[in-house]
Every structure is written in C-alpha cells, then in structure tokens.
Assembly symmetry: C2
Homo-oligomer: 707 residues x 2
C-alpha cells in the first residue's frame, strides 16, 4: 500500500462532486479547495461541466491512470463497480465516504468484503467506507465533509467514530488546537489503527498520536506496530465499549467483536500506549505532551502566591504517582535571601499574596535549579497586585522555559483577568490550565511515559522444551476432535505436557486397580493424593473423586475403591480409567493460580493470582498477553494487590518468586507453541520459599473451523 | 450573633476607607458603591473629608451607635482597639480584612485570641481576620477588595482560602456564574463554616451551598448543623490538606490542627455533605444541582445522533453508580414508528447521523415517558444536518424540560458551532456540557444525594448499661492519672467494663497463684487461655505472656509458672499480678476488630474491620463518628470490601451480623459516656453464625490538661 500517495497525493479525484451545497460531494470539494490544496483537483460528475470553478470529468473512465487519490461520495450501490474501475486505472488510494456497509447488516457486510478484496488485490490504500475522510495539514489536504479546517499542529488524530471526528474538529476550531493529520477510519475495510501507528510513528510532522477506537482489527499487528513506535512518540488512546452496555452498543454500531477489556488493557500496557478514559483528558494530555519535555523523575515543585490552591495541588500530587519535591537546604537558603519572612520555603513554595512578577521569577528560577526538582508548576491567583503584573509573569515564564529542559506548567486560577496572559503562554507552548488537577494528570502521564521509554526492550527467552513429546501428547487428543469442537486433555497427560516444558508437575501415575495404586504410592512415598481418572469427569471434587493425605497402603486401597464407585454412581455414563496417584505437597504452601485463555483479538491472555478468596472473591488478578519476558513475569506477580502476601508479611517467610516467574514464562511459551490449546488452568499451584508444585491442571483443546 | 445584620446590614462603615485606588480601603468602598448598595455607607478616614463622592467620618468614635456592620481595612495593630471602640458603640457585625494574625506566628495568634474574646463578649458577628470580605447579591452588598462583582444566582459559596475566593470570583465573572452569597472566612476567629451551614440552610435565596475548608473549627457543631440542613439543600464541599505534604502546607498556612482525614470523611458522610475533590468538579456539580430536579432513581437514558459518544457515555455510566436504563417494549415500539430502520432502539438510543430537530424531539419525549427512565441525556454531535437545526433542538429541549420533573442534561459535542445553542440552554437552566463524562459525574452526585434525602433520620438507641459499675472501674484508674498523662486499663477490668455495657466479654478470672488458676479453669471448663496479668505489660505475646488451648490442670499449672517467669525475665521492673484465666473460643470463628480513637476535631471515631491481613495489610477498614444508630452500624459492616467474607462465600455459613452491630453500637455508647477513654481496641473479637466473643481488649484513659 502506497501510504505516501494516501497522505501526500499529487492529484485527487472527487467522485460524486456536486454543485449542491447540501451534498457531501460539495462539502468535500469545497473543503479541499479552501484548505489551499496545491495539486490537481478532478471533480467527477456525470452532468456538470464545472463545479466551484473547477472543470468536471464526466466519467470515471476518463480519469487519468495512476491517480494518487480518489474520494467517493456516491451512493452505496455504485461503489463497488467504481472501485473496480479505479483499480483498473491503477489508482493508488481511495477514500470511501459513502455509508451503508458492514454497519447496516448482512448485505452491506458482504459488499464490504468484496470491496476489501478488490483493494487488497490491487494494493489500494483504502480508507472507510462510512467515514468522514481525512486531513493532512502539511499537504493542505482536506477531503472531509466536516465544517471548518483545523490549524496545523504536531498532533495527529485518528478515530473509528466519524461523529467524534466531527465533534473534535468543531471543538478544535473553537479551542485553536492544531493537527498534523486527522483521519476518520470508518469501517476499516483496509486501513486501520495499525497502519496509522506505523505511518504516524515515522511522520516527521507528528509528535503526539491520539486515537479513538472501539475495537482493533488485527490484534498482533496492532501490538507489534505499537511496540515499534511507542518509545519514539507518545500514543494516547481511548478504547470505548468497556462496559456491558457500551460493548453492546458498540457491537450493534460497528458489527465487530471487540475482545475482552482485560486483553485490551494488557495490549495497551505491553504496547506502551497510554490509555485515556475520556475526550477531555485526551486533549489535556495532548497539549502537555506536544509542547513540553518529559520529566526525568516524579518530583514536582510548586511556586504559588496563595495557600489554598497550593494545598490542593499537593493533595492531587500525592493521589498520583508523582511526589512533591523535597527542596535542598541550599535552595531554601537562597530563597530566604529574597522572599519575605512569612513566605513558606518548603514545597509548595508560598511566595504569598503580595508577590509581584520579580518574586515569581526569582523563586521559579531558584527552584528549577534544584536537582531534586523534575518539573515546575507555577500557580498564580489573580490578586490585586498580580493583575497588572500578569503579562510580565507570562513573559518571564516563556523565557525560563526556553532555558531549561525540565517541563514547566502554569495554572492561572481564574478566567476573566487571566485570559490575555493565558493566550500568550499557550501561543508560546506553555501548557496553561485554570485549575491544578489537570496539571497533575498530565505530568503523571508524562512521567509514566518517560518510565516506559527508559525501560529496556523486552527480550523473550526461548524456553527449552521437549517439543516432540509435547506434540505427541497433544496429537493424541487432536485425533478426537472435529471442527468447532473442543476436548479436555486429561490431567495425567496435562501434567506430562507441563513436564515437557520443565514445569513443576506433581509426580503422577495412573493406576487402573487398587493394587497398582498402592504400588505407585509406595514408590512415591506417603502421603499421596488420589483423584479419579476419567476423560469424562472434569470437576473431580464434585463427584467425590478426590482424596487427600493418604498415609498408608490401606488408606490408598480404600480410597481407590470409594473414589471409583462414587464416580460411577454420580456419572454412570463416564468411562472410569482408574485413579491418579499423585505426590502430596507438604502443608503450609501457598496457593497460586496460573492460566491463560485465548482472546479473540490478541491470542493467549495469561493470568496470575493468589488462590483462595483472592481470585474468586476479590478478582485480584493480573493479565498479560503471551509471549512474556522475565521482567514482564515479574510485573505480573507484582501486579496483584495481594503481592505482599507472597513477599511475606508480619514476619512470615516469602515464597520463591523466581519459581513463579519460571512457571509464567513456560506457560506463556506453551500457549504460543500450541495455538489450539484454548484454555489452561493450573489451579492450584503450591509454592513455598524453595519451590513450586502444580497440584492440579486443566487444559482444553479446540479445533477451529478454519483448521 | 445577629446574622441578619451581617448579611443584610442597613448601614455599613468602612474603616480605613482610602482615596488611593491602590489601597484595599479604596477597593472595598468602590465595590460597595458599584454593587448598588442602597443603605448608608460611612467611610472612616482620619484625614479625608470625602472619598468617591461620599462624606467621610474622621473618627471611629463619631460613628453612630448600633451600626449593623463595620469593615476594617486598617493596619494590624489598631485592629484590637478599634474593635473595642466598635463594641462599645454596640456594632452588630465586623468584617476584619486586615491580615497578620494567627497565620503569622505567636504574637498574631494571641492578638487574634483577644479579638475573639471581645467579639464573643459583645456578641459581635465577626468575619475574618485575614479575609477577602463578603458579598450578598440579594442585599447588593459587596465588601470585598476583589475585582468584579459576580452575577446574582442561587448558589452560595464560602471559603477558608481568600486566594481561592479571588480565583473563583475571577472565574465566575468569565463564566457568567451567579452567586447568592459569597463569603471569605479567613482565620475564622468567630464566624466559621458551622455558622454558614446554619444560616445558608435557612436562606431563601440559596438553593445550593458550596464550601472550601482546610479544617473545621468545632467538629460537633459542624456535624450538627450539617445534619440539620443537608436534607433541605445540597452542600458540596472541598476539604483540602488530605495528603501529608498538603496537610503540612495547610498547617503552616493556617496554623491549625486538622484532625484525621478519616474523621472528615466520616463527618461529611454522616452529615450528608457531598465531598468534592477539585474546584472544576465543584462548579460542574453546582451547575447541575442548582438548576435541575433530583433523579428519582439511577437509570439514565441517552438519545444520540452518533454511535461513538453514545458508547463512551454508556462506559462512563457503568463506571458510576448509575445504570443505563432498560427501555420498555412499549417505548421501543413507539420509537420504531418514527425512527429510521437502522436506528438503535436500545439505550443509548441512536437516532443516527442524519437526525433533525424533529427526530430528537420525538425520541426524547418518548424516552422520557418511560417509567424505567429517571434522567435523560441528549447527546448531540454537530453533523452537517444538525448545524442548522441546533437552535430548534435547544428550544425543544427547553420546552421539554418545562414539562417534566425528571432531570435533563445536554451534551453538545464540540465548541465552535454549538456555542449559540449552548448559551441558550444554559440561560434556560439546562446543564450543558461538551463531553459526556461531567454529565455522569453530576447525575451520580445528584442520585447519591437523593438517596441521602430519602434515608430516614438516624435514631440513636440508648444502650442500657450498668453505668455505676462502669464508672467505678474507670475511677479506679483515674486515681492514677495526672494531667497530660495516660494509663492503660488492665484487660481484666477492661473486660468487666465491656460486660457492664452488655458486650460479649470473654469469661475472665484473675489468678495470683497457679492453684487459683487451676481452680478458675476447672470452674470455666477446658480448654482455657492464660495471659499474664500486669498493668505494666501491654503487648503480652511479646514477652511470652499468652498460652492458648490449655486442656488440663497440669497444663494450666505449667503455663502459669512459665508465663509469670517469662514475664519477669523480659520485664524485670513490671509488677506481675499473676495470670488471667480466660474462656477459649472454639476454633473456626472469624476474627474481627472493633475500636475507636478520639479525633482532635470530631471526638470518638469508631473503626471496624476483619482480622488477619484485612486490616493490617489491606487497610480494609470502615469508620464512623460516634454515636451511631443501628443502620449506621450495618453500614459500617457492609462498608468494608471484605464484607462478603462475613456474609459467607463459596458455600460457607456467614457470621451473625446482628451480633457485630450490637458490639458497634455498645462500643459507640461507651465512647460517648467516657470522654476520657481516648482509645479502645477490641482485637480480636471472634464471631460465628451464633455469637461473638471479645477475645482481647486494650483501653487507654487520658487526663487532659483542662480537666
């Protein structure tokens, strides 16, 4: 796909151009002309000879070959034939504004599929259908039907919702917010968010990327592109449809299956994408990211002429990941030289109500020089003294920002009397807010992003495994499968599969008679566990199929007979193979749970949590998408709230964290190696300070229709 | 105190009035004149004869007797003598704008104390010192030195931070936000937030009360006034200084001790005050509360012309306490009659991109009639069709709002093209936002407030108790106390004290010899617990002073000897009385913790949590201020996250909640009856499905300097 032709077309045809100002075909043409586009514009309309002063081409067939871009604003039914014509002409990119496809039921769905096929076959960069169009400020391209062209800027925005594009354009025009690129993705038949990340990551005109999505088209592609570019430029994104009713509305809106929100959360985190919850925050953050350097640490200093707002800033700061900087003795002594005696030299530095521009300047400069300070917030209440000094304060701040590589934020508390100074600061690229909380929100996001940038790239260890044996085990179950059906891998074999990946499977034998069971127990050493062995019984405890702490041959024999008869009683149709004899972990080990299930969009989603109430009652679980590195495994373990229980509290010894890391990494590898294992649940895994044992495991194999 | 003279003065003297526009004494006078004050204005200045066209009084002594209000803008030192003169003249209220008192160290602190004494002795309603003044729009009074008078409105605002007052006035003038009363409390020498709640609760011009405080002057007074008025009018308040550095800044700023944030949280909750975290939210909520009826339930319906924003609204709604309304079959069928076939009839109702004013009107009316709908949000993206219809949509919404008692909110997504419609709606009292999230935030607060209003008034049960016996026990320890010192009530006596309040104290005897211990155990029945009995040993386990599960006379005898000798070894100077012999609760009971400590501001703060990791590691604790009603006890129990563990999860039997309620209510009563018990810790209390036992208790008695 020729993304250069898409973003920097040298000639654009507008097919469906209209002389009627109520028509979309008119708006697109007129926006393109008004944007000052300097390439050739070719309006296509069967009847007119001239529209908006431009000569008209009457037939698509009359368009030149190898055109960079054609924009379609025609009715739905001629879209496909027109696209075919354009393909024959070697058109490089096509924007289909027309709606009525996937979003409108079955017929539209199939039509859209044909459109995608034509585009893919002919390598056409196709945007839409059902979109608002796109804007590239640098190339003076605006082929949208929205009213108003935004200012140029260094922020790019793409959105799956056309309405949101319209709202944001309207808002941006009112707020004087500029954009480098502005793309309405529509139904994403071809061009999707992954293409955007890829292109915008390399776009020299873009410093910050903003996106709104309701789903992702290709999970792994998206994650790869995000990983590849997110260290270079910040990506701020909204993923909507997280709630039940939101997801329902989203699926009826776009007809797409969204995948689970945990998987999205994991993908954003692992891809380095900053997830934002609402549009107001998206733009608050964009403003900060686009014009200020990143903070090199979490410590914020505040210089204020008023106590109350300073206190509120400190409160907000401590609710965040940031810290109020502790100023050095030297800084405080220096300030003592020029601040009045009742000023507060501690952070927040209160230079008190009668502060003038000079006092602000001296205090700000001094604080900014302090090595403990990573960012500065200048907080200003329009006191009587201040009102006439405001412009001078603004000028000084602009000068100061030019001399430092630490981020500077300004909060002018008010509206009426601070407006001119605010305008001046914003023009000069100093983020300026009316309340302190958005400063904290922005700086916190910038600090987190800086931490992400400093994090080494994840290196995924290749896990050594006896893959032949593993393949052999799984094949044994595959033979029972037909497309669309699933089968459970029986525990004995599942434990062996774990063993092939060097996972600490509990020593397990199958006994078909009570005698064999006793022999196995003698060999293993007491105590042992007996579990019913049956491919048809999955919840063994429910049928009386588990006995723990068996201490003698007699107990084992007895248990064997009881288990097998109880199982037969509860599940008369089940095939009972006998019993598993399993080593029994010593008392006092902690229970953890490790598992994965395969997400529709993003593949295997690993989960980790503490056994007992922590997972089941408190839902205290951490997730990551496989494959994971060792440091990601560490993050998963530390990511649960009950992590401190593993580390050891109140004088207890902690468990061997490395053993849990190994389990996570190996299970991750297993999930990658066997795409048809759709679910695995190692529950419980028992851990103590020296080792781990997988006490029970369930795995499900599934054959998809495409296999 | 004559609050009528304070808010509706018929004559006002401005002492320190100045002809110099740079002086505060000029600003106050000029604001008062510009506000159109219709009473007599008496500028006081020793030198001038006329200021701003008003004849000047040269001496305070020449002022008329019984003046309603005097405003002081003179330097600090003459403030006290001037106040004395005013008191002699029978002045009813005084506003001291002058700074330099408590906020500036020791000397100022004592000066302020004298000011308070003079005011209290003469029953003067005194505002400040160190404040910006006050505004009463209804009486055309503005005795502040801020620039700009806000519009009249039905929202009152008071603030402990003068700077915040300035910022907000500036902001309000820019935003066209109106106020009924606007009061800068300053140092609160006399008039404080409790007076404000009391007066504003009865003020016919005020519908919504907003406040910013850093501390509360009199905890119980505040709580009582809040309780008395918060069902009549919503009170939205910021309490700052919640963080460590914020609190430090606040105390250096106002010199006041703030009390714990848990106590404030409890006081706000029990007083029905809506706690707000930031100023932007304060005004977002104020706008909604001041002009819309309260929702009668949590169900929101959304009518939108665009999918994306509808989905985001549903997401935000489900993150809140609100629900997306489930529309009735009838409503959906009705809408089918006039909506296009691709519209979504489910909530969010998507009337799709080509919607016009008429479609909005029909859909909004239909949805609003649905009994399942408690509030309506009309969400509008400025599409090409919409732009020209916007005014009509606004008119229709205004009309609709006039015909319903359900709250209606509007979200116009954008800025530029929606401005005129937004202005129109705001003028008509329809809350209008640019993004959906503030709608959810506002409506959620309104719904919570409605629930508060519907909640019956708490009735505190009088707990029957053997108060004479209790008094006797406590007196025994009081005799050991001197002012400023504390003493621990030994467990044996503490258990007896609990018994006097009918609390389920563990049966306990004191044994001074091993023989006595065995006798006690025989009488109680085995197993028993032995604990060292010493007034000097508080952490008994640390000195080997506790033995559980003693099953026989021999074990008891042995334990007695070991405990007493271990205690002597570890604490050679401790007086060892012998051992407590205590009944042993059966295994398997759940541990809970009940206690209180006395908050500086609000008195006894009760706490409740689950034993083990829940309190210590996860800090899962609920708090309330004593005294509490039964329903508040229930709330405390349900207020912890681990409540479900008490109720019983995974098939376990729950514990007897009523027994815990009883304990909370009785401990609350004990805390109220004995103000010198500053701390009590019933830890653990053991509970099962039939009963509770207090297995251990610690109590501390303290004699304050004032006793």
């Amino acid at each position: 796909m020729d993304m250069k032709a898409f973003f920097h077309p040298s000639r654009i045809a507008v097919i469906g151009a209209s002389a009627n100002p109520d028509k979309i075909g008119y708006s697109v043409l007129s926006n393109l002309i008004e944007a000052g586009y300097e390439g050739a514009i070719l309006p296509v309309n069967p009847k007119e000879t001239q529209i908006l002063g431009r000569p008209v081409v009457n037939e698509v067939a009359d368009l030149p070959r190898g055109l960079d871009m054609a924009v379609l604003t025609i009715p739905r039914d001629p879209v496909l034939p027109t696209l075919r014509q354009l393909a024959e002409l070697g058109t490089k990119s096509v924007v289909i504004i027309t709606a009525g496809f996937k979003e409108m039921g079955r017929e539209g769905f199939y039509l859209e599929q044909e459109i995608r096929e034509v585009a893919e076959k002919n390598d056409i960069a196709l945007l839409g259908p059902n979109c608002l169009g796109l804007i590239n400020s640098g190339a003076k391209v605006n082929v949208t039907f929205a009213s108003g062209t935004p200012l140029p800027g260094n922020v790019a925005f793409f959105s799956q919702s056309g309405a949101l594009c319209q709202a944001i354009l309207d808002w941006a025009v009112g707020e004087n917010m500029g954009f480098s690129k502005f793309v309405s993705l529509g139904n994403k038949a071809v061009i999707n968010e992954a293409h955007m990340l890829d292109y915008l990551g390399r776009d020299p005109d873009t410093n910050v990327v903003l996106g709104y999505i309701e789903n992702v088209s290709q999970g792994s592609e998206f994650l790869n592109k995000a990983r590849a570019m997110s260290r270079k430029k910040p990506v701020l994104m909204i993923k909507s449809g997280t709630s039940t009713s939101g997801a329902k509305a989203a699926s009826s809106h776009t007809g797409a299956i969204a995948g689970s929100d945990q998987a999205y959360e994991a993908a954003f985190q692992q891809g380095g994408i900053i997830r934002v919850r609402d549009i107001a925050s998206l733009f608050t953050l964009a403003q900060a990211f686009s014009c200020q350097p990143l903070p090199q640490g979490p410590n914020l200093a505040v210089v204020t002429n008023s106590g109350g707002p300073g206190i509120m800033t400190a409160d907000a700061c401590e609710r965040s990941k940031l810290h109020m900087a502790r100023l050095s003795q030297e800084t405080m002594e220096k300030m003592q030289g020029f601040l009045p005696s009742f000023a507060s030299l501690h952070n927040p530095v209160d230079i008190i109500g009668d502060a003038d521009a000079k006092r602000y300047k001296l205090a700000s400069e001094t604080v900014l020089e302090d090595q403990n300070v990573h960012a500065l917030l200048i907080l200003l209440t329009p006191t009587a003294t201040m009102v006439s000094e405001m412009n001078e304060v603004a000028d000084n701040i602009i000068q100061l920002a030019g001399q430092t590589d630490k981020p500077i934020f300004v909060c002018l508390m008010g509206k009426h009397s601070i407006a001119p100074a605010q305008e001046k600061l914003v023009q000069a690229g100093i983020p300026c807010y009316n309340f302190p909380e958005p400063v904290i929100q922005s700086l916190e996001a910038m600090y987190s992003y800086q931490q992400w940038r400093n994090r080494p790239e994840e290196s995924i260890e290749e896990v050594p495994a006896d893959r032949d044996r593993a393949e052999e085990i799984v094949n044994g179950f595959r033979s029972h499968l037909s497309p669309g059906r699933s089968v459970e891998i029986v525990e004995y074999q599942a434990q062996e599969l774990l063993g092939a990946y060097d996972l600490p499977a509990a020593a397990t034998s199958v006994a078909t008679t009570s005698k064999e069971a006793v022999q196995a127990a003698e060999q293993m050493g007491y105590p042992v566990v007996l579990k019913v062995a049956s491919p048809d019984i999955s919840h063994k405890s429910d049928v009386g199929g588990v006995r723990m702490s068996l201490q003698s041959p007699e107990e084992v024999r007895q248990a064997f007979l009881e288990i097998t008869s109880a199982a037969k009683y509860h599940e008369p149709r089940a095939f009972i193979h006998g019993c598993l004899v399993q080593e029994m972990a010593p008392a006092g080990m902690r229970e953890i749970i490790v598992g994965f299930h395969r997400d529709e969009q993003f593949g295997p989603l690993l989960m980790f949590g503490l056994g007992g109430i922590h997972v089941e009652v408190f839902k205290d679980i951490s997730f990551k998408l496989a494959p994971i590195s060792r440091s990601q495994a560490t993050d998963m373990i530390r990511g649960i709230q009950s992590y401190m229980l593993l580390k050891g509290v109140r004088g207890e010894t902690g468990v061997k964290i490395k053993a849990i890391e190994d389990i996570l990494i190996r299970v991750s590898q297993l999930a990658i190696d066997f795409p048809d294992i759709v679910e695995a649940d190692l529950n419980p895994v028992l851990v103590d300070e020296s080792r781990a044992i997988v006490a029970d495991v369930r795995m499900t194999l599934y054959m998809s229709h495409s296999q």
